[in-house]
């Protein structure tokens, strides 16, 4: 499996840290931040491949953050993480452009599968864009 980078966004510190450790153990490049604002900062500097975004956070909530992410980095795939209560919000997130959603507490393997899928989609999208750009270049020539 290709190594890809993941950004975890969750204001529940314990959850965030443990999950980071577990993903690192599974050979993913993981960074973690505790708020939407921080996530956007990280995204501008070193954009990850996939973002795992908690829906319910203090400050900027999941949907807002998602919108911003899609503005700044439209190619970055986002998996929404939700307590069951805001499943509607998670679904709304999908409409805005999230890749998928998961309900807390979730199974680590399930998360991994989704992460891989998301990364695959990202690479496919990037390749498509690359092709398009190359075709443009060729046309330009």
């Amino acid at each position: 499996m290709d190594e890809f980078s993941v950004l975890l966004v969750d204001d529940e510190r314990e959850f965030l840290e443990t999950l980071m450790k577990r993903l690192k153990k599974r050979n993913l490049k993981v960074t973690g931040v505790g708020s939407g604002e921080d996530a956007l900062k990280v995204l501008k500097e070193t954009p990850p491949d996939v973002v795992v975004l908690d829906v319910r956070m203090d400050g900027m909530d999941g949907i807002q953050t998602l919108r911003e992410i899609k503005k700044v980095r439209p190619l970055v795939e986002v998996i929404m993480l939700t307590g069951h209560a805001n499943m509607e919000v998670a679904v709304e997130g999908m409409e805005v452009g999230a890749f998928d959603y998961l309900m807390k507490p979730m199974d680590i393997d399930e998360l991994l599968y989704k992460l891989e899928d998301a990364y695959k989609r990202k690479t496919i999208q990037e390749q498509k864009i690359k092709h398009l750009e190359e075709e443009k270049k060729l046309e330009g020539v």
Binding site: E14, T18, R22, R56, G83, H84, N86, P105
Partner: protein, 553 residues
């Protein structure tokens, strides 16, 4: 408290209605009665007055006729002719033949000597010079006497006329047949108690009374109370009875014809009318009372029912509100619990990850650790199910479409109710058709529909029985039937079971909303719900839902 309020209201309405209805009714009936009584009395008075006048005229005519014939005889013949033997007899016969009513006839000379006489008594030769009437005839020419006993000691009255023949004055005198005269008077007697008699100016009876009144006895009536001509009046007699009298003056105001009538006898008709009126008024009042009480009760009962329904509806709304609030709280609580659960899950996961490292594998308690972690995970999963259940409950409030497997919902609902059924010794049997299509519908609402139907079936049985839940595909519909082997629903109720607030459950056990809500939900989904019921054999409710294919995602 409420009960007393209604009783008060009922009393007030009844009181007001009765007052308003009774006062005019009673007022009117009293007025009508008195008016009627007045008219009736006037009528009776008029009648008796008329009779007195008519009979009076007849009597006057009788007297006039006899006076006239006497005068005619006196004028026609001379004294000498009449005094001759047999002549007076002849004239008497003519007179009695023509007009009748004479007892005897006598010729009296100016000295008062009875010169000739025809009649049953031996009166020839008697001298009348001393008799009071003699002077009257001499001076007035015509005289009709009051009743007197005279020579023969029998009450009678006479008519006498005077004739002046040259210088000679003589008198022709006749006695009136009392029987004929009294018959004439008696003709005016009416009814069982009515009387007719004549009294003179001094108040002495000139004719017999109907009930034992002697001629020439003094009357209880004072003749002066009667006015000129004919008058009627009411008097209380010696026995304390009201008597109507009509008086008519006769014979130049010297005799008074009195017609009497017991007022009560005539008034019986009026009393009969009064009785009828009282019966009508009383039965009218009774009718009003009954109607008022009946309608008031009906109205108040309607009010009570409406109020009760309103209360039930309110309770239902409050209940729904509570549920919504509870749902919100459940959602909040579930969320708050989910977060720590997520942390626990991650921590355990991490610990499991760590256990894969070598140093831990050698640990003496490796298996113990691993088992404990499994247990923790298991219980986290259990808690997660609980919180998800709570969230599902919260989401039940709002309808929305999702992919629904009818059999799954049925299984879930039955699982939920199984223990409840088992405590009542009721078995729930399933006949579910496999590979039913997945449809787009509202899971929570469908769950409520099946929950209602199965709960009803269990309640219908009560104890010991069988509920059979079946699902099958029929053309473009999925049919779900819930059958029980309870008492069955009576025919007359079958059409009403879907009405709101209709319940066959005993007081307090059901609100009567369950089936109407169920009906509404099914209808909103574009489905139908029907029931078949047979007495003693049980009831089957069948829900048919259109197969709506979910959109591809």
């Amino acid at each position: 408290m409420k009960r007393r309020l209604y009783a008060n209201l009922r009393r007030k309405i009844i009181f007001i209605t009765l007052t308003v209805a009774f006062i005019p009714l009673i007022f009117l009936s009293v007025i009508i009665y008195y008016q009627f009584a007045q008219v009736f009395r006037n009528k009776i008075e008029e009648q008796i007055e008329y009779r007195a006048r008519a009979q009076g005229n007849a009597i006057e005519l009788f007297l006039k006729e006899r006076t006239a014939i006497l005068l005619a005889m006196a004028d026609t013949y001379t004294f000498d002719y009449l005094a001759a033997r047999g002549k007076l007899e002849r004239i008497f016969q003519i007179m009695n033949h023509r007009v009748g009513g004479f007892i005897d006839l006598g010729l009296i000379d100016s000295a008062g000597k009875h010169v000739a006489y025809v009649g049953p008594y031996n009166l020839i030769g008697l001298n009348y010079y001393q008799q009071p009437w003699f002077g009257e005839v001499e001076s007035k020419g015509v005289y009709v006497s009051d009743v007197f006993t005279g020579y023969r000691r029998i009450p009678h009255f006479i008519i006498a006329v005077r004739r002046q023949e040259n210088n000679r004055i003589w008198i022709l005198r006749a006695t009136i047949d009392s029987d004929v005269f009294e018959g004439l008077v008696r003709a005016a007697q009416v009814g069982k108690t009515g009387d007719a008699f004549i009294i003179n100016r001094e108040g002495f009876h000139q004719t017999h009374l109907r009930f034992g009144g002697e001629i020439l006895s003094k009357s209880n009536l004072n003749p002066t109370i009667f006015g000129e001509g004919t008058t009627a009046l009411e008097k209380v007699n010696s026995e304390g009875r009201k008597v109507l009298y009509a008086g008519r003056w006769l014979k130049k105001n010297s005799w008074l014809l009195v017609i009497s009538q017991d007022a009560s006898e005539e008034m019986t008709k009026l009393f009969k009318t009064k009785r009828i009126e009282i019966i009508i008024v009383v039965s009218g009042c009774l009718l009003i009372i009954l109607t008022t009480i009946f309608t008031t009760r009906l109205t108040v009962r309607h009010l009570e029912t409406a109020d009760r329904k309103m209360n039930e509806l309110n309770a239902q709304l409050v209940h729904a509100d509570k549920l919504a609030a509870l749902g919100k709280m459940a959602a909040g609580v579930a969320h708050e619990i989910n977060n720590p659960l997520a942390v626990i899950a991650e921590k355990t996961g991490w610990m499991e990850d760590l256990l894969t490292e070598e140093e831990f594998q050698k640990s003496q308690h490796f298996e113990e650790y691993k088992k404990s972690l499994r247990k923790i995970e298991e219980h986290v999963e259990r808690a997660r199910k609980v919180t998800h259940g709570m969230l599902g409950f919260a989401r039940r409030m709002e309808p929305h479409l999702e992919d629904v497997d009818i059999n799954e919902i049925l299984n879930e609902t039955i699982t939920f109710l199984e223990s409840y059924a088992r405590t009542n010794n009721i078995t729930i049997e399933k006949e579910l058709e496999t590979d039913l299509p997945i449809i787009a519908s509202d899971r929570a609402q469908l769950q409520q529909v099946f929950l209602n139907l199965i709960t009803n079936a269990i309640d219908e049985i009560g104890k010991d029985g069988l509920v059979c839940v079946s699902s099958r595909r029929i053309n473009s519909e999925i049919a779900v039937s819930v059958r029980d082997n309870g008492q069955g629903i009576p025919k007359e109720y079958q059409a009403r079971v879907f009405e709101p607030f209709f319940t066959t459950k005993q007081g307090g056990k059901g609100t009567g909303l369950g089936l109407s809500i169920t009906h509404n939900i099914v209808q909103n989904m574009g489905g139908t719900i029907t029931l078949e019921s047979e007495k003693e054999k049980g009831t089957t409710f069948t829900v048919r839902l259109p197969i709506v294919v979910p959109e591809k995602k």
